[in-house]
Symmetry: C2
Subunit: 490 residues, 2 copies
C-alpha cells in the first residue's frame, strides 16, 4: 500500500491532515506519459502566455486560501507569504511576456554564401522545447520556488510540460497550487496534464530516470541535489540537470568599511542572515571581517543586533534539528567562539546567533570544513589579520550564488577584492546584502558548483534557456519552416 503524505504543522510538530499518497513507479510513469502526450498543446507561444497569466489570476484570486495553507505548513507567516505570492504571480506574468515576445528563440539566419569553405547553404536556427521537465520543489519558498515557481513558469513558457515532485514539507500547498495551475490550463483550453504533481522520495528518483523526462530543475540540498545530478548523468541518455544546491555567500568587509560604518554593517548583516529564519539560499553564511579595533566595533554591534532578533519557528522539525546540531558542533570546534549562541528557544523554535574565529584558524589543515552552508539563522565571522589572509581564505571557499564586498568609497582594495570574488560566485554585490533575488532580465541566480550544477540561472529571463535546444533548418522551403523562421510576408 502506498505511503501516506501528511501535512505537518511546524509550530507544534503535529500532523494536520493526510494530503495524498506517495507515487509509486507506475504512478510516476503515468504522470510523465500524460505530460508527454500533451506536449504539442504547448507549441503555440500565445497559448503558453495565456496559461501563465490565467494561473497568476487564479493564484491571486485564491490568495487567502494559498497563504493560509502555506503558513500552516511552513510557519513563514502571512506577511512573508503574501509577498511571496505576489512575487510568484508577477513571475508567472513575467514569463508570459517572455513567451509572447519570443526573444529566447534566439533566431539566427545565415543566407547562402558559395564563397565560404565549405559553402554556406540557407541555414535558419531557432530554439525548441526539450520535452517534459521534472521540477523538484524547494522547502524554503513554498510558492516562488515550488509548484507555481520559477522552474514551472520558465518551463511552461519554453513550451515544456512539467511533472513536479512536491516538497514533503508543504504537500497541501503543493496540491492546492497544482490544482490551480491545472485549472488555468483547462480555462485556457489546454490539457490539464501540462502540469502533473507527484509526492514521495522514491517518486523523485523514479522521475529523474524516466526515459521521457528531458531535463530537470532542482532547488535543495547538496546531498539530495548531487544524488539526482548523478542519476541524471548515469542515464542511458543523460539529461541536463539544473540544480541549485548550496551556497555560503561570502561577505568581505574591508577594514575601512568596518571603521566607517560598523553599526550599519551589523544591522544589515543581522537582518539579511536572519530573514525568513535564515532559510534563504542567499543567506550570508560567511563573513570576513578585520581583526583589530574596527572589526571589534563591528562584531560588538553585530552581537547587539543579533541578540535582539526574535526566536522563530523553522520550516520543519527536521530542519530545526539539523540547524541545532550543526551550529552546536561548529561552536565546539577549536578556536571557535559564539558571541551569540544559536540554539533552541522552546520546543519548536530556534534563535539566531553567530560564530567567530580567527581567519588563520581556517588556514590550518582540515579546518576549512567549517566553510559549508548551515541552513538557518547563523553566520560565521572570520577575523582576518591582513589582506593576504583574505586571499588565502577565499581560495578555500567553494562555489556560491553570491559574493558580497562591503567597502568604502575609493577603497584601495575594492578592485582587487572584486577580482577575487568574481570567480567564486554568480552574483557580485557591492555594499548590499544578498538576500532578496529580484526577478529581472539581468538577474543571475546560479554560480560555480555547488551553488548550481550548470552555468544557468534559475531566476530571471534567461532561466528559460534551461529548457530549450537549438535546431537548424537547412535549405528548407518556406512552407515547411516554423513560422518564426520564414521570410517576412511568407
Amino acid at each position: 500500500m502506498a505511503a501516506s503524505v501528511w501535512s505537518v504543522d511546524p509550530r507544534t510538530g503535529k500532523e494536520r491532515e493526510q494530503v495524498a499518497v506517495e507515487a509509486d513507479a507506475a504512478e510516476v510513469d503515468r504522470a510523465v506519459r500524460a505530460a508527454h502526450a500533451v506536449r504539442a498543446a504547448l507549441a503555440d507561444r500565445a497559448a503558453r502566455a495565456r496559461l501563465l497569466r490565467t494561473a497568476a489570476e487564479l493564484l491571486d484570486a485564491a490568495r487567502d486560501r494559498v497563504v493560509e495553507a502555506a503558513d500552516a505548513e511552513t510557519a513563514l507567516g502571512p506577511v512573508r507569504l503574501t509577498g511571496e505570492l505576489a512575487r510568484t504571480t508577477a513571475q508567472l506574468r513575467y514569463f508570459a511576456d517572455i513567451a509572447d515576445e519570443g526573444a529566447f528563440l534566439d533566431v539566427r539566419i545565415s543566407r547562402p554564401d558559395p564563397t565560404t569553405t565549405p559553402p554556406t547553404p540557407d541555414l535558419r536556427r531557432m530554439k525548441i522545447p526539450l520535452g517534459v521537465v521534472a521540477v523538484y520543489a524547494a522547502s524554503n519558498f513554498p510558492l516562488a520556488f515550488s509548484v507555481p515557481g520559477g522552474d514551472t513558469a520558465s518551463a511552461l513558457a519554453a513550451g515544456c510540460p512539467v511533472v513536479i515532485k512536491a516538497h514533503p514539507y508543504h504537500p497541501a500547498t503543493s496540491e492546492l497550487c497544482a490544482a490551480l495551475l491545472r485549472k488555468a490550463a483547462a480555462e485556457t483550453g489546454l490539457p490539464e496534464d501540462v502540469v502533473r504533481l507527484v509526492h514521495g522520495f522514491d517518486a523523485g528518483t523514479e522521475l529523474i530516470r524516466h526515459p521521457l523526462v528531458a531535463a530537470a530543475g532542482f532547488t535543495g540540498s547538496v546531498e539530495g541535489g548531487r544524488a539526482l545530478f548523478d542519476a541524471a548523468a548515469a542515464r542511458p541518455v543523460p539529461i541536463p540537470f539544473h540544480g541549485e544546491l548550496g551556497s555560503l555567500n561570502p561577505v568581505v568587509i574591508t577594514e575601512t568599511a568596518a571603521g566607517q560604518r560598523p553599526e550599519e554593517l551589523a544591522a544589515g548583516l543581522a537582518a539579511s542572515m536572519t530573514q525568513g529564519m535564515g532559510q534563504f539560499c542567499t543567506k550570508p553564511g560567511f563573513v570576513l571581517a578585520p581583526a583589530g579595533e574596527a572589526g571589534d566595533r563591528f562584531v560588538d554591534a553585530l552581537t547587539e543586533a543579533v541578540e535582539k532578533v526574535e526566536p522563530g519557528v523553522m520550516l520543519a522539525p527536521r530542519i530545526r534539528g539539523r540547524f541545532l546540531t550543526a551550529t552546536y558542533e561548529d561552536s565546539q570546534a577549536e578556536g571557535v567562539t559564539a558571541p551569540v549562541h544559536p540554539g533552541p528557544a522552546g520546543p519548536h523554535t530556534a534563535k539566531a546567533g553567530f560564530l567567530s574565529l580567527d581567519a588563520g584558524t581556517l588556514l590550518e589543515g582540515g579546518r576549512h570544513v567549517l566553510l559549508r552552508e548551515t541552513f538557518g539563522p547563523v553566520t560565521l565571522v572570520a577575523r582576518y589579520a591582513s589582506r593576504e589572509e583574505i586571499s588565502a581564505v577565499l581560495a578555500l571557499v567553494p562555489g556560491n550564488l553570491t559574493a558580497t564586498l562591503q567597502a568604502a568609497d575609493e577603497d584601495p582594495d575594492a578592485a582587487s577584492l572584486i577580482a577575487e570574488l568574481t570567480p567564486l560566485a554568480g552574483r557580485i554585490l557591492v555594499n548590499g546584502w544578498p538576500t532578496g533575488v529580484a526577478v529581472a532580465d539581468a538577474q543571475h541566480h546560479g554560480g560555480p558548483y555547488p551553488a548550481t550544477t550548470s552555468p544557468f540561472t534559475s531566476v530571471g529571463a534567461t532561466a528559460i534557456e534551461r529548457w530549450l535546444r537549438p535546431v537548424t533548418y537547412q535549405s528548407t522551403p518556406q512552407h515547411l519552416l516554423p513560422p518564426e523562421l520564414r521570410d517576412a510576408g511568407e
Copy 2:
C-alpha cells in the same frame, strides 16, 4: 619510462617517426597549471582576436608543411587537406571577429525598480570565461576538429586557455599545429601557455579529472566520449562536458521523390556517404526508401553509383579493421542483403558499399541494434512498405546531428515527416545531403544524445557559449564594473 608516441602511415601501416612521449599525471598537471596561470592574459578580447588572426596567418603560411604532415598520417589527400586548412584558418578568423564584436557577452542591464516584489536593484550581467578548457581532438579532421580546430578557436575567443589532448592518429600534425599556435601567442605578446598539448590515452583521463580544468570539448566515439562524460560528471566538482559522440544521420526518401529522381538521389547519397571515405560525423548512415518500383529504381541507381566509387585508405589500420568487422557482421544479419558489399580492397584499402533490408525487419524484437553508426563508407537502406512504417522505424532511431528529408515539391507527407524528424536531430535538411558543415552564425552541429552530450553546437558562432558563464554585478560602482557593463561615457 613514458611510452613513445609514433606517427603511423595508414597507407602502409608502418611507423614513420617518434613524435613525442605520452604525458603522465605529473606532466598533465604541469600543463593544466601552466595554462591556468596565464588565463588573465586572455582577459582582453582584442588580444584574443589578434592571437586567432595571427594563428590563421601562421597556419596559412605553413600550408605545404601542414598539409604534407597531415596527409602522411591520415591519407586524406592534399586536395581535401588543403580545403580543410582553409576552413580551419577561416574559422580562426571567424572567431577573431566574434571576439572583437563581443555579442556573446550577452550583456543585460536591469535598472533599479522599487515597484517590483522584491525590489529590483541595479543589476548588470555579462558572460565571463570559465577557465582552462580541455580539448579532445578528433581523428577524422586533423585540422578543423583537432589542435587548431573549432573547440580551440571558440575557447580562445571566449578567453579560455586550452590544454589539448592530441589524437593518436595524427600526433606529428598536432605537434606542428600546436607549435604554430604557441608561436602565434608569442608574436601577439601573449604567453605561449595559453595553448598546451598532451599525448596519450591516460593523459586524457587525467585531464578530465584535473581540478583546474573547467570544461571540456570532445569529438569522437560514443565509447570514449561517454567514458569522459561520466568522469566529468563524477568529479567532486562536476564540469560541463561538450561531447560530439555518434550519429546515424537518417535520411527519409518519400515515394514521390524516389519516383521523380532516383538517379539524382542515388548520386547524391553515394557522394555524401563515401566523401572522405565515409569518415564524417554527418555521413548519412541510414536511409528509409520506399519498397516497390520507385524504390527499386533508386536502389539500382545507388548500386551503380557506389560500385563506381574508388577504394581508399582509411584514417588508421584500426579504423579500417573496425569498419570491415562491423560491415561484415551487419551483412550477415538475418534479412540483410548487400547490394554492394563493403570490404577490403588490398592490404590497406577498403571499398564502399551499402546494405539493405525491409524496414519491417527493424521492427522485430532486438533488430534495431542495426541502427548504430558505422564509421566508414557504408549506409543501411531500409525499404518501407507504408507511411506508418516510417514512423515506427523513426521511433527507434537514437539522437542525431542531422536528419534529412528527400521529398517532392508539394509532397503530401513532407510537413508531417519534418515534424517527426525534428525531435531526432539538431539540423534538419530538405533535399540536401548532410556532409559539409558550414561555419556560420545559424549553424547547429549538435543534437539529442548520443549526437552530443549537451544542447550546444561545436560549429558556428554559438559554439563559444560552451566556455562561458554569466555573472551579475549588483549595485556596483561604475569604476569597479567591467568596462562592458559601464554606462556610456564612464
